[in-house]
Subunit: 194 residues, 2 copies
Amino acid sequence: MQAEADDAHLREHCLASKAVFEGNFLKVHRDQVRLPDGGVASREYIRHPGAVMIVPILDDGRLLLERQFRYPMGKVMLEFPAGKLDAGEAPLLCAQRELLEETGYSASHWAHAGVLHNAIAYSDEGIEIFFARGLTAGQQSLDAGEFLELVTHDTAELDALAASGAMTDAKTLIGLLWLTRWQRGEWALAWLPA
Amino acid sequence: MQAEADDAHLREHCLASKAVFEGNFLKVHRDQVRLPDGGVASREYIRHPGAVMIVPILDDGRLLLERQFRYPMGKVMLEFPAGKLDAGEAPLLCAQRELLEETGYSASHWAHAGVLHNAIAYSDEGIEIFFARGLTAGQQSLDAGEFLELVTHDTAELDALAASGAMTDAKTLIGLLWLTRWQRGEWALAWLPA
Protein backbone atom coordinates (compact mmCIF):
# COMPACT_ATOMS: atom_id res chain seq x y z
CA MET A 1 0.00 0.00 0.00
CA GLN A 2 1.35 3.42 -0.90
CA ALA A 3 2.05 5.81 1.97
CA GLU A 4 -1.02 7.19 3.72
CA ALA A 5 0.79 9.36 6.23
CA ASP A 6 0.06 12.59 4.44
CA ASP A 7 -3.30 12.70 2.71
CA ALA A 8 -3.52 16.52 2.78
CA HIS A 9 -3.67 16.60 -1.03
CA LEU A 10 -6.89 14.55 -0.89
CA ARG A 11 -8.54 15.52 2.41
CA GLU A 12 -11.67 17.70 2.70
CA HIS A 13 -12.42 19.74 5.80
CA CYS A 14 -15.85 20.53 7.22
CA LEU A 15 -16.73 24.24 7.26
CA ALA A 16 -20.39 23.88 8.27
CA SER A 17 -22.80 20.98 8.74
CA LYS A 18 -26.58 21.09 8.57
CA ALA A 19 -29.35 18.50 8.84
CA VAL A 20 -31.38 19.15 5.69
CA PHE A 21 -33.81 16.21 5.90
CA GLU A 22 -35.02 14.25 8.90
CA GLY A 23 -37.27 11.44 7.79
CA ASN A 24 -38.70 8.60 9.81
CA PHE A 25 -35.75 6.48 8.73
CA LEU A 26 -33.33 8.58 6.64
CA LYS A 27 -31.37 11.55 7.97
CA VAL A 28 -29.61 13.68 5.35
CA HIS A 29 -26.87 16.18 6.10
CA ARG A 30 -25.42 18.80 3.80
CA ASP A 31 -21.96 20.05 4.70
CA GLN A 32 -19.89 22.83 3.22
CA VAL A 33 -16.34 21.57 2.82
CA ARG A 34 -12.95 23.06 2.06
CA LEU A 35 -11.34 21.16 -0.82
CA PRO A 36 -7.64 20.27 -0.99
CA ASP A 37 -7.07 23.14 -3.44
CA GLY A 38 -8.77 25.66 -1.16
CA GLY A 39 -12.06 25.68 -3.06
CA VAL A 40 -15.43 25.10 -1.40
CA ALA A 41 -17.96 22.40 -2.23
CA SER A 42 -21.13 20.90 -0.83
CA ARG A 43 -21.43 17.24 0.29
CA GLU A 44 -24.78 15.55 0.93
CA TYR A 45 -24.84 12.28 2.82
CA ILE A 46 -26.92 10.03 5.02
CA ARG A 47 -26.05 9.53 8.65
CA HIS A 48 -26.70 5.89 9.46
CA PRO A 49 -26.49 4.19 12.89
CA GLY A 50 -24.49 1.27 11.48
CA ALA A 51 -25.52 -2.31 10.95
CA VAL A 52 -24.50 -5.94 11.28
CA MET A 53 -24.69 -8.98 9.00
CA ILE A 54 -24.54 -12.58 10.15
CA VAL A 55 -23.29 -15.54 8.09
CA PRO A 56 -25.03 -18.43 9.94
CA ILE A 57 -23.55 -21.89 9.32
CA LEU A 58 -25.84 -24.82 10.13
CA ASP A 59 -24.38 -28.04 11.54
CA ASP A 60 -24.65 -29.74 8.13
CA GLY A 61 -22.59 -26.92 6.57
CA ARG A 62 -25.52 -25.24 4.82
CA LEU A 63 -26.00 -21.48 5.20
CA LEU A 64 -29.12 -19.86 6.60
CA LEU A 65 -30.43 -16.96 4.50
CA GLU A 66 -33.52 -14.83 4.16
CA ARG A 67 -35.74 -13.97 1.23
CA GLN A 68 -37.16 -10.51 1.85
CA PHE A 69 -39.05 -8.02 -0.31
CA ARG A 70 -36.89 -4.93 -0.58
CA TYR A 71 -39.13 -2.06 -1.54
CA PRO A 72 -36.49 0.17 -3.22
CA MET A 73 -35.56 -2.79 -5.45
CA GLY A 74 -39.19 -3.78 -6.12
CA LYS A 75 -38.41 -7.46 -5.61
CA VAL A 76 -37.54 -10.23 -3.20
CA MET A 77 -33.81 -10.37 -2.46
CA LEU A 78 -31.74 -13.25 -1.09
CA GLU A 79 -29.67 -12.06 1.86
CA PHE A 80 -27.77 -13.09 4.92
CA PRO A 81 -29.59 -11.91 8.07
CA ALA A 82 -28.79 -8.29 8.95
CA GLY A 83 -30.08 -5.36 10.91
CA LYS A 84 -29.39 -1.88 12.22
CA LEU A 85 -27.69 -1.14 15.52
CA ASP A 86 -29.88 0.24 18.27
CA ALA A 87 -28.48 3.36 19.95
CA GLY A 88 -25.42 2.38 22.00
CA GLU A 89 -25.71 -1.31 21.10
CA ALA A 90 -22.51 -3.35 20.76
CA PRO A 91 -22.26 -4.94 17.30
CA LEU A 92 -21.95 -8.53 18.58
CA LEU A 93 -25.04 -8.12 20.78
CA CYS A 94 -26.90 -6.63 17.81
CA ALA A 95 -25.86 -9.61 15.67
CA GLN A 96 -27.08 -12.07 18.32
CA ARG A 97 -30.35 -10.16 18.71
CA GLU A 98 -31.01 -9.85 14.98
CA LEU A 99 -30.23 -13.50 14.29
CA LEU A 100 -32.65 -14.55 17.04
CA GLU A 101 -35.42 -12.10 16.06
CA GLU A 102 -35.27 -12.70 12.32
CA THR A 103 -34.55 -16.43 12.21
CA GLY A 104 -35.25 -17.82 15.68
CA TYR A 105 -31.74 -19.29 15.80
CA SER A 106 -29.15 -18.82 18.51
CA ALA A 107 -25.48 -19.75 18.07
CA SER A 108 -22.90 -21.29 20.39
CA HIS A 109 -19.92 -19.67 18.65
CA TRP A 110 -19.34 -16.32 16.96
CA ALA A 111 -16.53 -14.76 14.94
CA HIS A 112 -16.08 -11.16 13.78
CA ALA A 113 -14.76 -11.13 10.22
CA GLY A 114 -14.53 -7.41 9.48
CA VAL A 115 -16.53 -4.42 8.33
CA LEU A 116 -17.79 -3.24 4.96
CA HIS A 117 -18.77 0.26 3.86
CA ASN A 118 -21.51 -0.02 1.31
CA ALA A 119 -22.23 3.49 0.02
CA ILE A 120 -19.16 5.61 0.69
CA ALA A 121 -20.20 8.36 -1.73
CA TYR A 122 -23.34 9.23 0.21
CA SER A 123 -23.67 7.32 3.49
CA ASP A 124 -21.52 6.71 6.55
CA GLU A 125 -23.03 3.24 7.00
CA GLY A 126 -20.73 0.44 8.08
CA ILE A 127 -21.88 -3.17 8.27
CA GLU A 128 -20.00 -5.36 10.76
CA ILE A 129 -19.64 -8.91 9.43
CA PHE A 130 -20.14 -11.80 11.86
CA PHE A 131 -20.09 -15.57 11.46
CA ALA A 132 -22.24 -17.81 13.69
CA ARG A 133 -22.13 -21.58 14.17
CA GLY A 134 -23.43 -24.16 16.62
CA LEU A 135 -26.96 -23.05 15.66
CA THR A 136 -30.07 -24.06 17.61
CA ALA A 137 -33.53 -23.38 16.19
CA GLY A 138 -36.07 -21.42 18.24
CA GLN A 139 -38.86 -18.92 17.78
CA GLN A 140 -38.72 -15.99 15.32
CA SER A 141 -40.05 -12.63 16.56
CA LEU A 142 -40.30 -10.30 13.57
CA ASP A 143 -40.96 -6.59 13.90
CA ALA A 144 -44.36 -5.27 12.87
CA GLY A 145 -44.35 -4.83 9.09
CA GLU A 146 -41.44 -7.26 8.65
CA PHE A 147 -42.04 -10.29 6.43
CA LEU A 148 -39.35 -12.73 5.42
CA GLU A 149 -38.82 -16.32 4.48
CA LEU A 150 -35.93 -18.49 5.69
CA VAL A 151 -34.04 -20.57 3.13
CA THR A 152 -30.84 -22.62 3.19
CA HIS A 153 -28.17 -23.04 0.54
CA ASP A 154 -24.83 -24.78 0.48
CA THR A 155 -21.74 -22.81 -0.51
CA ALA A 156 -21.72 -24.16 -4.08
CA GLU A 157 -25.33 -23.10 -4.59
CA LEU A 158 -24.64 -19.58 -3.27
CA ASP A 159 -21.57 -19.37 -5.46
CA ALA A 160 -23.61 -20.30 -8.54
CA LEU A 161 -26.31 -17.75 -7.64
CA ALA A 162 -23.65 -15.04 -7.38
CA ALA A 163 -21.91 -15.98 -10.62
CA SER A 164 -25.21 -16.08 -12.54
CA GLY A 165 -26.41 -12.70 -11.25
CA ALA A 166 -29.34 -14.16 -9.27
CA MET A 167 -27.81 -12.98 -5.98
CA THR A 168 -26.76 -9.32 -6.13
CA ASP A 169 -26.99 -7.98 -2.58
CA ALA A 170 -23.60 -6.43 -1.79
CA LYS A 171 -23.30 -7.49 1.86
CA THR A 172 -24.30 -11.06 0.98
CA LEU A 173 -21.72 -11.22 -1.84
CA ILE A 174 -19.08 -10.06 0.65
CA GLY A 175 -20.33 -12.70 3.12
CA LEU A 176 -19.74 -15.25 0.36
CA LEU A 177 -16.24 -13.83 -0.24
CA TRP A 178 -15.37 -14.27 3.45
CA LEU A 179 -17.04 -17.69 3.63
CA THR A 180 -15.17 -19.19 0.71
CA ARG A 181 -11.83 -17.67 1.72
CA TRP A 182 -12.25 -19.01 5.25
CA GLN A 183 -13.34 -22.46 4.02
CA ARG A 184 -10.21 -22.66 1.84
CA GLY A 185 -8.01 -21.72 4.80
CA GLU A 186 -6.98 -18.41 3.20
CA TRP A 187 -8.61 -15.90 5.58
CA ALA A 188 -8.80 -16.52 9.32
CA LEU A 189 -11.77 -16.27 11.68
CA ALA A 190 -11.29 -16.16 15.47
CA TRP A 191 -14.23 -18.04 17.02
CA LEU A 192 -15.43 -17.27 20.53
CA PRO A 193 -18.14 -18.95 22.60
CA ALA A 194 -21.38 -16.94 22.82
CA MET B 1 -33.08 -21.96 -5.00
CA GLN B 2 -36.53 -22.31 -3.47
CA ALA B 3 -39.52 -21.45 -5.66
CA GLU B 4 -39.95 -17.76 -6.38
CA ALA B 5 -43.03 -18.04 -8.54
CA ASP B 6 -45.39 -16.74 -5.89
CA ASP B 7 -43.94 -14.10 -3.59
CA ALA B 8 -47.34 -12.66 -2.65
CA HIS B 9 -46.67 -13.48 1.03
CA LEU B 10 -43.64 -11.16 0.93
CA ARG B 11 -44.50 -8.50 -1.65
CA GLU B 12 -45.37 -4.87 -0.79
CA HIS B 13 -47.51 -2.71 -3.09
CA CYS B 14 -47.22 1.03 -3.61
CA LEU B 15 -50.27 3.03 -2.53
CA ALA B 16 -48.76 6.51 -2.93
CA SER B 17 -45.31 7.90 -3.70
CA LYS B 18 -43.97 11.33 -2.84
CA ALA B 19 -40.63 13.10 -3.26
CA VAL B 20 -39.89 14.33 0.27
CA PHE B 21 -36.36 15.68 -0.27
CA GLU B 22 -34.66 16.93 -3.42
CA GLY B 23 -31.07 17.78 -2.67
CA ASN B 24 -28.31 18.68 -5.07
CA PHE B 25 -27.29 15.05 -5.11
CA LEU B 26 -29.73 12.98 -3.02
CA LYS B 27 -33.40 12.49 -3.89
CA VAL B 28 -35.52 10.89 -1.15
CA HIS B 29 -38.95 9.38 -1.72
CA ARG B 30 -41.45 8.29 0.89
CA ASP B 31 -44.05 5.77 -0.26
CA GLN B 32 -47.09 4.41 1.49
CA VAL B 33 -47.18 0.65 0.92
CA ARG B 34 -49.67 -2.15 1.40
CA LEU B 35 -48.02 -4.97 3.38
CA PRO B 36 -48.55 -8.68 2.63
CA ASP B 37 -50.95 -8.92 5.62
CA GLY B 38 -53.04 -5.95 4.41
CA GLY B 39 -51.45 -3.46 6.80
CA VAL B 40 -50.00 -0.14 5.69
CA ALA B 41 -46.45 1.09 6.22
CA SER B 42 -44.13 3.87 5.07
CA ARG B 43 -40.91 3.26 3.10
CA GLU B 44 -38.22 5.93 2.66
CA TYR B 45 -35.56 5.45 0.02
CA ILE B 46 -33.14 7.18 -2.27
CA ARG B 47 -33.64 7.17 -6.01
CA HIS B 48 -30.23 6.82 -7.60
CA PRO B 49 -29.37 6.97 -11.33
CA GLY B 50 -27.21 3.83 -11.10
CA ALA B 51 -23.46 3.49 -11.34
CA VAL B 52 -20.60 1.49 -12.76
CA MET B 53 -17.36 0.10 -11.37
CA ILE B 54 -14.33 -0.89 -13.42
CA VAL B 55 -11.71 -3.51 -12.48
CA PRO B 56 -8.78 -2.36 -14.66
CA ILE B 57 -6.08 -4.98 -15.25
CA LEU B 58 -2.70 -3.62 -16.36
CA ASP B 59 -0.56 -5.61 -18.80
CA ASP B 60 1.71 -6.78 -15.96
CA GLY B 61 -1.34 -8.17 -14.10
CA ARG B 62 -1.47 -5.41 -11.49
CA LEU B 63 -4.78 -3.68 -10.79
CA LEU B 64 -5.36 0.06 -11.13
CA LEU B 65 -7.14 1.61 -8.15
CA GLU B 66 -7.88 5.02 -6.70
CA ARG B 67 -7.31 6.56 -3.31
CA GLN B 68 -10.05 9.11 -2.76
CA PHE B 69 -11.22 11.08 0.29
CA ARG B 70 -14.80 10.03 0.95
CA TYR B 71 -16.41 12.73 3.03
CA PRO B 72 -19.11 10.60 4.71
CA MET B 73 -16.36 8.23 5.90
CA GLY B 74 -13.99 11.05 6.92
CA LYS B 75 -11.03 9.30 5.32
CA VAL B 76 -9.26 8.24 2.17
CA MET B 77 -10.64 4.99 0.78
CA LEU B 78 -9.03 2.54 -1.64
CA GLU B 79 -11.42 1.80 -4.51
CA PHE B 80 -11.72 0.54 -8.02
CA PRO B 81 -12.69 3.40 -10.38
CA ALA B 82 -16.44 4.05 -10.41
CA GLY B 83 -18.99 6.66 -11.27
CA LYS B 84 -22.66 7.48 -11.75
CA LEU B 85 -24.56 7.02 -14.99
CA ASP B 86 -25.49 10.17 -16.84
CA ALA B 87 -29.17 10.33 -17.89
CA GLY B 88 -29.78 7.77 -20.62
CA GLU B 89 -26.15 6.62 -20.69
CA ALA B 90 -25.41 2.95 -21.46
CA PRO B 91 -23.42 1.32 -18.62
CA LEU B 92 -20.50 0.24 -20.83
CA LEU B 93 -20.13 3.75 -22.27
CA CYS B 94 -20.25 5.14 -18.73
CA ALA B 95 -17.53 2.69 -17.65
CA GLN B 96 -15.32 3.71 -20.60
CA ARG B 97 -15.94 7.41 -19.89
CA GLU B 98 -15.29 7.13 -16.14
CA LEU B 99 -12.12 5.08 -16.58
CA LEU B 100 -10.78 7.66 -19.03
CA GLU B 101 -11.81 10.72 -16.98
CA GLU B 102 -10.65 9.42 -13.60
CA THR B 103 -7.49 7.55 -14.59
CA GLY B 104 -6.60 8.65 -18.13
CA TYR B 105 -6.57 5.00 -19.25
CA SER B 106 -8.46 3.50 -22.17
CA ALA B 107 -8.87 -0.26 -22.64
CA SER B 108 -8.84 -2.49 -25.72
CA HIS B 109 -11.11 -5.16 -24.18
CA TRP B 110 -14.06 -5.06 -21.80
CA ALA B 111 -16.16 -7.64 -19.97
CA HIS B 112 -19.41 -7.19 -18.03
CA ALA B 113 -19.29 -9.32 -14.87
CA GLY B 114 -22.64 -8.53 -13.24
CA VAL B 115 -24.41 -6.06 -11.01
CA LEU B 116 -24.41 -5.41 -7.28
CA HIS B 117 -27.04 -3.69 -5.16
CA ASN B 118 -25.30 -1.92 -2.31
CA ALA B 119 -28.01 -0.48 -0.05
CA ILE B 120 -31.19 -2.44 -0.69
CA ALA B 121 -32.89 -1.23 2.51
CA TYR B 122 -32.87 2.41 1.44
CA SER B 123 -31.59 2.95 -2.10
CA ASP B 124 -32.39 1.59 -5.55
CA GLU B 125 -28.74 1.97 -6.60
CA GLY B 126 -27.24 -0.74 -8.75
CA ILE B 127 -23.55 -0.80 -9.67
CA GLU B 128 -22.70 -2.56 -12.94
CA ILE B 129 -19.36 -4.37 -12.67
CA PHE B 130 -16.98 -4.20 -15.63
CA PHE B 131 -13.49 -5.54 -16.25
CA ALA B 132 -11.06 -3.73 -18.56
CA ARG B 133 -7.74 -4.90 -20.02
CA GLY B 134 -5.37 -3.91 -22.77
CA LEU B 135 -4.90 -0.60 -20.96
CA THR B 136 -3.18 2.43 -22.50
CA ALA B 137 -2.26 5.44 -20.38
CA GLY B 138 -3.48 8.91 -21.35
CA GLN B 139 -4.66 12.14 -19.79
CA GLN B 140 -6.90 12.31 -16.70
CA SER B 141 -9.72 14.89 -16.75
CA LEU B 142 -11.19 15.09 -13.26
CA ASP B 143 -14.41 16.95 -12.49
CA ALA B 144 -14.17 20.20 -10.56
CA GLY B 145 -13.87 19.35 -6.86
CA GLU B 146 -12.66 15.80 -7.60
CA PHE B 147 -9.28 14.82 -6.16
CA LEU B 148 -7.86 11.34 -6.33
CA GLU B 149 -4.62 9.45 -6.46
CA LEU B 150 -3.93 6.45 -8.70
CA VAL B 151 -2.29 3.40 -7.15
CA THR B 152 -1.61 -0.14 -8.31
CA HIS B 153 -1.74 -3.42 -6.39
CA ASP B 154 -1.38 -7.01 -7.38
CA THR B 155 -4.13 -9.46 -6.48
CA ALA B 156 -2.28 -10.85 -3.46
CA GLU B 157 -1.81 -7.34 -2.03
CA LEU B 158 -5.51 -6.51 -2.49
CA ASP B 159 -6.43 -9.81 -0.92
CA ALA B 160 -4.27 -9.05 2.13
CA LEU B 161 -5.76 -5.54 2.44
CA ALA B 162 -9.26 -7.03 2.41
CA ALA B 163 -8.45 -9.77 4.92
CA SER B 164 -6.81 -7.28 7.31
CA GLY B 165 -9.68 -4.77 7.18
CA ALA B 166 -7.62 -2.05 5.45
CA MET B 167 -9.85 -2.21 2.35
CA THR B 168 -13.55 -2.05 3.26
CA ASP B 169 -15.34 -0.49 0.28
CA ALA B 170 -18.14 -2.89 -0.67
CA LYS B 171 -17.93 -2.54 -4.45
CA THR B 172 -14.15 -3.00 -4.37
CA LEU B 173 -14.45 -6.13 -2.20
CA ILE B 174 -16.93 -7.52 -4.74
CA GLY B 175 -14.52 -6.58 -7.53
CA LEU B 176 -11.92 -8.65 -5.68
CA LEU B 177 -14.40 -11.55 -5.39
CA TRP B 178 -14.97 -11.51 -9.16
CA LEU B 179 -11.28 -11.03 -9.92
CA THR B 180 -10.08 -13.98 -7.87
CA ARG B 181 -12.89 -16.27 -9.05
CA TRP B 182 -12.14 -15.39 -12.66
CA GLN B 183 -8.37 -15.82 -12.20
CA ARG B 184 -8.97 -19.30 -10.74
CA GLY B 185 -11.16 -20.24 -13.70
CA GLU B 186 -14.28 -20.53 -11.51
CA TRP B 187 -16.38 -17.63 -12.82
CA ALA B 188 -16.43 -16.69 -16.50
CA LEU B 189 -15.96 -13.30 -18.13
CA ALA B 190 -16.93 -12.71 -21.78
CA TRP B 191 -14.41 -10.22 -23.20
CA LEU B 192 -15.29 -7.99 -26.13
CA PRO B 193 -13.13 -5.51 -28.05
CA ALA B 194 -13.82 -1.86 -27.16
